[in-house]
Amino acid sequence: MISERPLRIAIVGSGPAGMYAAGHLLEGPGGTFINGGLNQIVRRPVEVDVLERLPTPWGLIRSGVAPDHPDKKRMAAIYDSIARRQGFRFIGNVQVGRDVSPADLSQWYDGVIYAVGADDERRLGITGEDLRGSDSARAFVSWYNGHPDFSDLQFDLRCERAVLVGNGNVAMDVARILFSPISALHNTDIASHALDALGKSQLKEIVILGRRGPEHAAFNYPELMELGELADTAISVEGADLSLTPENADYETQLKVAALAKLCKEKSQGSRRIVFRFNAAPTAIVGGGQVAQINVVDRRDQSEQVLNAGLVLAAIGYRGLAIDGLPFDDVRGVIPSCDSRIVDNGIAIAGAYVTGWIKRGPKGIIGSNKKCARDAVTAVMVDVDSNLLPMEGTLSAAQVLEAINARVSVTLGFSGWQKIDRQEQSDGRAQGRPRLKMTATGAMLGLVTAG
């Protein structure tokens, strides 16, 4: 029966999907946009705990979105605002699957929404992939964004050519960051270790490999156009004839291909070069310990070519990571679900939901997760109304914190994060930068516990 106490929901992961789920559960007075209009979808008080494995929230807004996109980083303000709502609690530095189990959570809460994103990557599956100088674009992005798990990586950019495998937006971000003037990056919140390494860069050329033709290029128009804004950088295309774009291609494709052709024409000169190489697949990465070259096959005529390169980054996709105690679809790299309800062999697990990239795969942009989270919250509310949630034995907010603290030596609340946030901003100000990211978990926790 509907009890008087607030519904208690745990959300695992504080990226966009998790924060939007919190926002929808703690619904604002304006209601929720659904089926073309604003409607109230939550009709009872809710308390939300957001559990995050890092001390810092916001997922890929912090560790994925490029540092030179400050406008998009402003999304954090929206999540801040959600975090200030009555009923919200952040518990940082708790990893579900390691520190606490899904079984614990389902006992402690009325419902659990998993929004853990895609903490893994797709691999090339070719030889030489593990050589020094070969890594995933995900690692590179996480490194330049100061993600604590990647801060110890070393990227040696004192080589002439980098090859990016894959031509999606992540590859565009990486190429742009690699070729951005240090002075411009100084004005972003890029991690200082990355700033140092980029300062030593000797890269002259970036080759971006795409398996298919330009009409199938994965990048979007704005990200492409930003490459055009790089000074002293020529842009060219190999392995395809841009004038041959199929007439029946959709508008966005035509726009992209036309824009690329225009860039090639307008940006033919420059001491540095970005080469879009289409219909090209890597077959092997070669080198003695350190990457020296990458072998590429032209998929039109199967001809082989060898590109000398000191850095190879595979930008072929993020991928979900299984969580101990929850089902996992190893083929798609997601937690299997039906209408946001986690299913194990076709049977829904009561009170367990999923949203964001771990539900849909690494597709869609920040706002796609808002709708996705809305649907998950709608599912929770439908199940509450149908008495499908396991509401017996739910712990109070205080009891949950006690239980977590019994297993994790240091956790932090939202004010702990705000302390880190303020420290980063004031450290940044001292150097004339918007923010100086802390990149080590230990240091962050030290700051928080320092009283």
Binding site: I34, M75, D250, I366, G367
Partner: protein, 96 residues
């Protein structure tokens, strides 16, 4: 005039929530939403009320007369979105 959505758009549809004439597409429950790389404003239906610009968390929306130079092409990009959805707009202006 009209309002125009530009590159920084993250498709969080705050603008859709506040638009008084429902002229921003795709809406979250439209089929094209999940794959959308940004949202678009229908220049024929927009009434220049400014509500979306104020609501946009990433400053992606501009009144056409205030568009930064580098994003002038988004006038056409917004309009074209509706041109390819001919059932909604018969005629799209090209006044760039």
């Amino acid at each position: 005039m009209s309002y125009v959505i530009t590159a920084p758009c993250v498709a969080d549809y705050s603008c859709v929530e506040v638009c008084p004439v429902d002229c921003i597409s795709p809406m979250p429950d439209d089929s094209g939403f999940d794959a959308a790389t940004q949202l678009y404003i229908n220049p024929v239906l927009c009434v220049d009320c400014d509500a979306c610009r104020e609501a946009c968390p990433v400053n992606a929306i501009f009144a056409e007369d205030q568009l930064p130079e580098k994003w002038l092409d988004y006038i056409g990009i917004n309009a074209a979105h509706f041109q390819s959805h001919t059932q909604t707009v018969a005629e799209v202006r090209h006044d760039k």
